[in-house]
């Protein structure tokens, strides 16, 4: 008989996430993914000065604030016909890039690794490395006083867990090192942004911070530290763990999503934005391997399973966000974004598939790794490499431009347009991010965010098609008494629930909680 299992809260993700699954004979038969927090950011924005949207939406998420602020600026700039100077584009690239270098290692070490690494195997470390021995002493001191929080309690390590004491100890040392590195990456972004989290310098029309020479020097010094950690520690760790102890998981296609992928593309490499670091495009599961051109008019959102007034599916331009807390059949306030009617995965794996990144595809085919949770970690590491390399190009280009007193702001665009509509589309660390804005009488008349986690954590649509994370969970082998596989798969998407602002929880029936 099927057993219903609830995990609430799902921790080590951004925000409030609850998951319910039905497990039959050790396999997930059905899954419902729900966010449990709602703020109503879109409603707050109605009637406000469009320039405020940048400030407000960066506070949608304290992890990917630069992505939101930037996207919001792009949307309003689109509506106002602004032309952002190249130097400002580069400063935005560098600020956001710094946060990718913060985000991806943090996701691997601090949000995911504890699902795969048996931390307490450090007790068996017999090596001679003095740094690792000091770490062992530190952790063992915690164990002796019975206070190993926040590393325990945890789900029990299983047959896939990394238990080799040398590997575990090294990874834990890197966990600590990554804590320092993520602080440095935020500091980099703050040098150009004023502070982090929640930078101040991105505004409609460009940026406010005319970088001084010493600021760019400080930025470069930190960039060297952060890049060397990414290139020499983080990326090799991910590759060796995913092609080593976790290879069998990778080969099984554990946590495969719908097989359809979407990327808007992002990080312009030239002023016109004709060349981008990440390409935009779509891959349909009906036609795998073929990258189609992106047509944003194909994006709609369904509210069939959502606590919103029935209607649609609508495009983001036409949508409203009218709460209906008592709607029958709804189980989440997440809307269900669909591309041409399909549930599509967004994020690092989607980006690298759309890019047809040979480094990742070769690695996957050499080791027989199928798209799924392990491939997502690999894709995240591989794209970090692209960012590392691009950061230096952007920084060099910016230094050159500033020598000529290049502008950083389109001053004409500071004046709010009487009316207009605009869209901002970029790639955020967690996937494709879009803001849609309508301006009437110089204020916002409608604002809609379609965020990466809404794509990935969407509920069933009007045709009863499950969202990508739900699809990734269905068919998953899970021990109902130790459902570590569920959190492994969920975390591989790096969900950000505060971003998925529509989400709200509905009361579940009494079920087994694990």
């Amino acid at each position: 008989m099927a057993k219903r299992v609830v995990i609430d809260p799902v921790t080590r993700v951004e925000g409030h996430l609850r998951v319910e699954v039905e497990i039959d004979n050790g396999v997930v038969k059905n899954a419902w993914v729900q966010g449990t927090m709602f703020r109503g950011i879109e409603q707050i924005l109605k009637g406000k000065d469009p320039r405020d949207a940048v400030h407000i939406t960066e506070r949608v998420c304290g992890v990917c604030m630069t992505s939101h602020g930037w996207t919001s600026a792009l949307a309003v700039e689109d509506a106002q016909g602004a032309k952002v100077p190249r130097a400002a584009q580069l400063i935005r690239n560098l600020m956001a890039g710094a946060l990718w270098l913060h985000d991806h290692p943090l996701h691997f070490y601090h949000l995911s690794a504890l699902d795969y690494v048996d931390v307490l195997a450090i007790a068996n470390y017999k090596g001679k490395d003095s740094k690792l021995l000091a770490l062992k002493d530190k952790v063992m001191a915690l164990v002796q006083t019975g206070d190993t929080a926040p590393l325990t309690p945890r789900y029990q390590p299983d047959s896939y867990s990394v238990k080799d004491p040398d590997t575990v100890t090294t990874l834990l040392a890197h966990y600590m090192e990554a804590l320092e590195i993520q602080g440095k990456a935020k500091k980099m972004s703050a040098i150009l942004g004023g502070k982090q989290p929640h930078q101040a310098s991105i505004v409609v029309g460009g940026v406010t911070n005319y970088p001084k020479k010493e600021q760019l020097e400080a930025f470069r010094t930190l960039l060297n530290d952060v890049v060397s950690f990414a290139e020499l520690v983080y990326i090799p760790d991910v590759v060796s763990v995913c092609t080593g102890p976790l290879l069998s998981l990778g080969r099984s296609g554990f946590g495969a999503g719908p097989g359809s992928y979407l990327a808007y593309g992002g990080f312009s490499m030239d002023e016109a934005g004709s060349k981008k670091l990440f390409k935009g495009g779509v891959i349909s599961s009906k036609n795998p391997g073929v990258v189609q051109e992106l047509d944003i008019s194909q994006i709609t959102e369904s509210v069939a399973s959502s606590w919103y007034r029935e209607g649609g599916p609508f495009t983001p331009w036409e949508e409203s966000t009218e709460v209906d807390l008592d709607k029958k059949g709804a189980y989440s306030f997440a809307k269900s974004p669909r591309y041409n009617g399909e549930a599509v995965e967004v994020g690092p794996l989607a980006r690298m598939m759309v890019l047809q990144h040979s480094g990742l595809l070769d690695l996957m085919s050499r080791y027989g790794i199928k798209p799924g949770a392990i491939a997502r970690h690999l894709a995240r590491a591989k794209e970090t490499s692209l960012i590392c390399e691009a950061m230096y190009r952007w920084l060099d280009e910016l230094e050159g431009l500033l020598k000529t007193n290049a502008p950083i702001h389109d001053t004409r665009a500071w004046e709010v347009a009487a009316q207009g509509q605009g869209v901002g589309l970029i790639e955020a660390p967690r996937g494709s991010l879009g803001h849609w804005v309508k301006i009437e009488n110089k204020v916002i008349s409608n604002y809609q965010l379609v965020v990466p986690t809404t794509w990935n954590a969407s509920p069933r649509d009007e045709k009863n098609v499950a969202g990508p994370i739900e699809q990734a969970l269905i068919g998953l082998p899970v021990n109902p008494d130790n459902p570590v596989n569920i959190v492994r798969v969920i975390r591989s998407f790096d969900p950000c629930l505060a971003c998925a602002v529509h989400l709200i929880h509905t009361d579940g029936e009494k079920v087994v909680r694990v």
Binding site: T11, M37, F38, R154, H198, N405, D507
Partner: protein, 316 residues
């Protein structure tokens, strides 16, 4: 299993065993003094008290309607760094973004810690009062869970403007309020700003752990040292304000450090130390990056200050 709080050895001996030198420890205490605006000569005294009292203080960190930015902000603390804070200074029993445990194990950690008492409770994010369904944890209203945790906490710290006064969510329809409003009769220490400024939180924690008491608070229950003066009072652009020199164009190299009042700066109404102690390890702060103060540490923020970017001379 757990026996926290029953240490025979002194706090300092424990620190030493974990590889924290006396020098490092004194540095932490000096840092606390500096951050709280205390006489630096007090550092050895704080250190002495801490040596006697210090053990890893249990912490419960709850997230309401927030964005995790305050957690991220704490992690961006540089001296002490996050590793020291998480593993040496505190015993983080419940933190949704950091803890290994999920689901029932996480809830169990929370409940055990509450049963033991003597912990610091931190709130990040606001609390919805219009309908409990706007923020649920473990299928229960967050408001009730938070009140339960607050009832047995030694102190309650509200970090960030959402947790203090409702912040941005207060402008919406979820009835978002800060911690104090749902905890009448309990003294909540407020550390407003968006996000929380990490040196303030670390300074407050160190002070409390070493002194077993709170620093002087103002009428909004903020540590007075952090919120005594307006940003305008110590702004390095102040002279330009007095001369009537206001930045109008961010591209003009001759006016880059002029006053940002015409860009909507709220520095005159905002009580904060930002202009004195910058953000991200002293890297920068809003004004130095050419951006007007948005007043993010004030109770009025956000709705009361909207629109943010309008030149007050032209009126709202």
């Amino acid at each position: 299993m757990k026996n926290v709080g029953q240490f025979c050895e002194s706090g300092y001996q424990r620190l030493e065993r974990k590889g924290v030198s006396r020098r490092d420890f004194l540095k932490l205490c000096t840092f606390t003094c500096a951050a709280l605006g205390l006489d630096l000569g007090l550092a050895p005294k704080i250190a002495e008290a801490a040596e006697k009292n210090l053990f890893k203080k249990p912490v419960i960190w709850m997230q309401g309607q927030g964005c995790t930015g305050c957690s991220e902000s704490l992690l961006s603390s540089v001296d002490p760094g996050p590793e020291q804070i998480i593993l040496e200074l505190l015993s983080v029993r419940y933190h949704p973004t950091l803890m290994a445990a999920s689901g029932d194990q996480a809830v169990q950690s929370l409940e055990e810690c509450i049963a033991q008492g003597k912990y610091i409770l931190v709130l990040e994010g606001s609390i919805p009062t219009a309908d409990p369904r706007y923020c649920m944890v473990e299928g229960k209203p967050f408001l009730e869970e938070f009140k339960k945790a607050a009832a047995k906490a030694e102190i309650v710290i509200a970090v960030g403007s959402c947790a203090c006064f409702g912040g941005i969510p207060k402008a919406g329809f979820t009835g978002a309020v800060g911690a104090q409003e749902v905890l009448p009769g309990v003294k909540v220490v407020n550390l407003p700003s968006c996000p929380v400024k990490p040196d303030r939180l670390v300074g407050l924690l160190l002070y409390y752990i070493s002194q077993n008491t709170l620093p002087k608070l103002d009428n909004l229950n903020r540590p007075e040292a952090y919120y005594r003066f307006t940003l305008h009072d110590s702004c390095y652009r102040r002279l330009h304000y007095e001369k009537g020199e206001f930045l109008e164009d961010w591209n003009n190299p001759n006016t880059l450090d002029w006053c940002l009042y015409h860009k909507g700066c709220k520095g005159q109404e905002t009580y904060t130390t930002c202009a004195k102690s910058w953000w991200n390890d002293g890297a920068n702060f809003c004004i130095y990056s050419g951006s007007p103060c948005a007043g993010c540490s004030q109770p009025e923020y956000y709705e009361g200050f909207a629109p943010l970017s309008v030149n007050p001379k032209e009126g709202k």
